[in-house]
């Protein structure tokens, strides 16, 4: 069992309540930071810990904090991004539901460090029941004197509110989230200016993911030194992985960064292996947006080294033979999976979620979905496969926000690694008529077959 910085007390009955959380050392970090550390010291600790944004991009959190415009005389805001919507990702929901006070404590310390007097948690509207849990916990924190005026007798005051979204993946993009929080359509803003200069209400703002903020109390508690002892290189500490798909034990796991992927998939401590005794076909390791990898490349890099759960190892080989750690949404597919159909569901998702503001994404996501729908349903042409690659290439990098890239990468990577399967759909339309086409008889590569015989 690895170190559990976040979920260590998850099994304690009643840990979602203030009293139990406090009894188990909760809010000690807030006390320590507010009473014994300056704001800059907290920022330095977070910098030194090597903590990286846990929402998907993996940007160093301490550095993001240090970009915040400290000279501005406008109010500063901390906004927690709890708009978790990346397919395959559910760790933030789990964390907020089970440990609401951990997030609140993280918000208190982070707001203190950034000099924010009002902070918001923007949670996706579908998680309304989690919002209720958070609101209840916030009331408890106010009652205990950890929120409100002059917290713990210091001159630091903080108001914390939860704000619901209403169904839009795009609001997970930080500037779209800010627009949404201002009561507008969730359209990503053009950058610059970045939120650190002009964010919420045009004031300096930091937007951080739930897990990122929840990691701060631990860093303050045990010190940055001990935090970055865990992990490898620039991947420090622990990470929550949302494991789903064809595995025996789907769920949220806290892993030490550096755990071998093979151990994560097959160990009973984590995914517990592939369900129904089947074999592994492919993995999307960091949420639907990151490139899919076939079994051989997810377990080992192209160089033949074991693939590890770190930002660096998962991206080893670039997009040719690697992927990304992303949000940690680990989607596992067994040998019966139709890669084309899975991809079509992703393409449909991005088409549905494109905000429609810029033309490559608005038009390109719909186009890709329609072509994939045709191929999957036996109406494709051979030229469609290259067409898809080309559309993806023309969206990538040309859009206002990363949703365009997120829509393009799965398409490009699926065709890169599973082209034969797309061509099979075109060649044998009658064999893919049944929606469960590969369930009874898994797809077998003709090329591989020929090589074997």
């Amino acid at each position: 069992m690895g170190k559990q910085f976040l979920l260590g007390n998850i099994k304690v009955p009643g840990i979602h309540t203030y009293d139990v959380y406090r009894k188990h050392g909760g809010y000690n970090a807030a006390e320590k930071a507010l009473k014994t550390q300056t704001r800059d010291q907290v920022i330095e600790e977070v910098k030194f810990s090597g903590l990286r944004g846990r929402g998907g991009a993996g940007f160093p959190s301490g550095m993001k904090w240090s970009f915040l415009d400290q000279k501005s005389d406008k109010p500063r805001y901390l906004v927690c991004n709890a708009d978790e919507s990346e397919p395959g990702t559910f760790k933030d929901r789990f964390l907020m539901e089970k440990l609401p006070h951990l997030l609140i404590e993280g918000m208190i310390i982070s707001s203190y460090a950034l000099g924010a007097k009002t902070s918001y948690i923007y949670i996706r509207g579908e998680y309304m029941y989690v919002l209720r849990i958070l609101e209840k916990a916030i009331l408890e924190a106010y009652a205990a004197g950890f929120l409100g005026k002059n917290i713990l007798g210091t001159d630091f005051s903080l108001d914390l509110y939860v704000h619901p979204g209403a169904g839009a993946y795009i609001c997970g993009e930080e500037t779209a989230l800010l627009e949404s929080l201002e009561g507008k359509r969730g359209l990503p803003r053009l950058k610059p200016p970045f939120p650190a200069i002009a964010g919420l209400y045009a004031c300096p703002t930091v937007v951080n993911n739930v897990e990122t903020i929840a990691s701060v109390p631990c860093i303050v508690n045990i010190s940055a030194d001990l935090y970055n002892d865990i992990g490898i290189g620039k991947s420090t500490g622990t990470k929550l992985i949302s494991a789903s798909g064809h595995i025996n034990k789907p769920g949220v796991y806290e892993i030490e960064l550096g755990l071998p992927v093979e151990e994560f998939i097959y160990s009973d401590e984590y995914c517990g292996g592939i369900w129904k005794g089947r074999s592994l076909k492919a993995v999307v390791a960091g949420g639907s947006s990151v490139p899919i990898l076939p079994a051989n490349l997810i377990l080992k890099t192209a160089k033949g080294e074991p693939r590890l759960m770190t930002y660096e190892s998962l991206s080893d080989g670039g997009f040719v033979s690697g992927s990304m750690l992303g949000s940690g949404g680990f989607i596992v597919m067994d040998e019966t999976t139709c890669i084309v159909r899975n991809l079509w569901t992703f393409a449909r998702f991005y088409h549905h979620e494109s905000c429609g503001q810029c033309s490559p994404c608005r038009e390109g996501t719909g186009w890709m979905e329609k072509v994939l729908h045709r191929i999957e349903h036996g109406h494709g042409h051979m030229s469609d496969v290259d067409l898809l690659v080309d559309i993806a290439k023309k969206i990538e990098g040309n859009t206002i926000c990363p949703l365009g890239d997120a829509a393009a990468w799965p398409v490009a990577s699926a065709i890169r690694h599973f082209r034969e399967e797309f061509e099979y759909h075109v060649k044998y339309p009658e064999k893919v008529k049944d929606p469960k086409h590969f369930e009874k008889e898994p797809f077998v590569s003709e090329k591989l077959e020929r090589a074997v015989h």
Partner: protein, 171 residues
């Protein structure tokens, strides 16, 4: 149509919500208010309802229409008493969400996007609800129904029918 108006209790809540945002930034309360309005006025947002919300926030009605039509949780047309939202994105599909949708269509005698003749159920497919570890799953009101099988779906329909309550994200 009778006049659209929140109860006094709700209006107190509304002014509390508006108070969470800085002076002059009351538009920030738009999404929370639309959630409340949808819940209070039969599960959907009619034009008078949206105009009423606009008046509470002192903004133009078009600003409300623009926002309400952007977010997928707001219904701009009437829906059945229970809105069943079945997740269909990759991770749920891998674990059989298609079967759940087909079963619900057969059981309710409607297609996705339709409402049963008695006005009890509307069936909708939605994109990832962030519950991939308990796939397949569906949302009805604020509740998540997880690890669905055709049997558990049948039981759920019986329960919802018996309760007869209108689903709402706010309950």
């Amino acid at each position: 149509m009778s006049e659209v108006r929140f109860s006094n209790d709700t209006l107190t809540l509304v002014s509390k919500l508006i108070g969470r945002y800085p002076e002059g930034r009351q538009k920030s309360a738009l999404l929370p208010l639309l959630h409340i309005a949808q819940s209070e006025f039969e599960g959907w947002l009619s034009v008078p309802t949206m105009d009423y919300v606009a008046s509470l926030l002192k903004i133009q009605p078009i600003e409300v229409y623009e926002v309400a039509s952007f977010y997928s949780m707001f219904n701009l047309k009437p829906v059945g008493r229970c809105l069943l939202e079945v997740c269909q994105t990759g991770p749920c599909w891998l674990r059989g969400s298609d079967d759940i949708v087909i079963h619900l269509e057969k059981k309710l005698g409607i297609k996705v996007g339709e409402t049963t003749a008695d006005g009890m159920f509307t069936l909708k497919t939605v994109e990832c609800l962030g519950s991939c570890d308990t796939a397949p799953m569906l949302q009805c009101g604020a509740a998540y129904y997880e690890n669905l099988t055709t049997e558990s779906v049948d039981a759920l329909l019986v329960k919802l029918n018996a309760d007869g309550e209108r689903s709402s994200y706010m309950k």
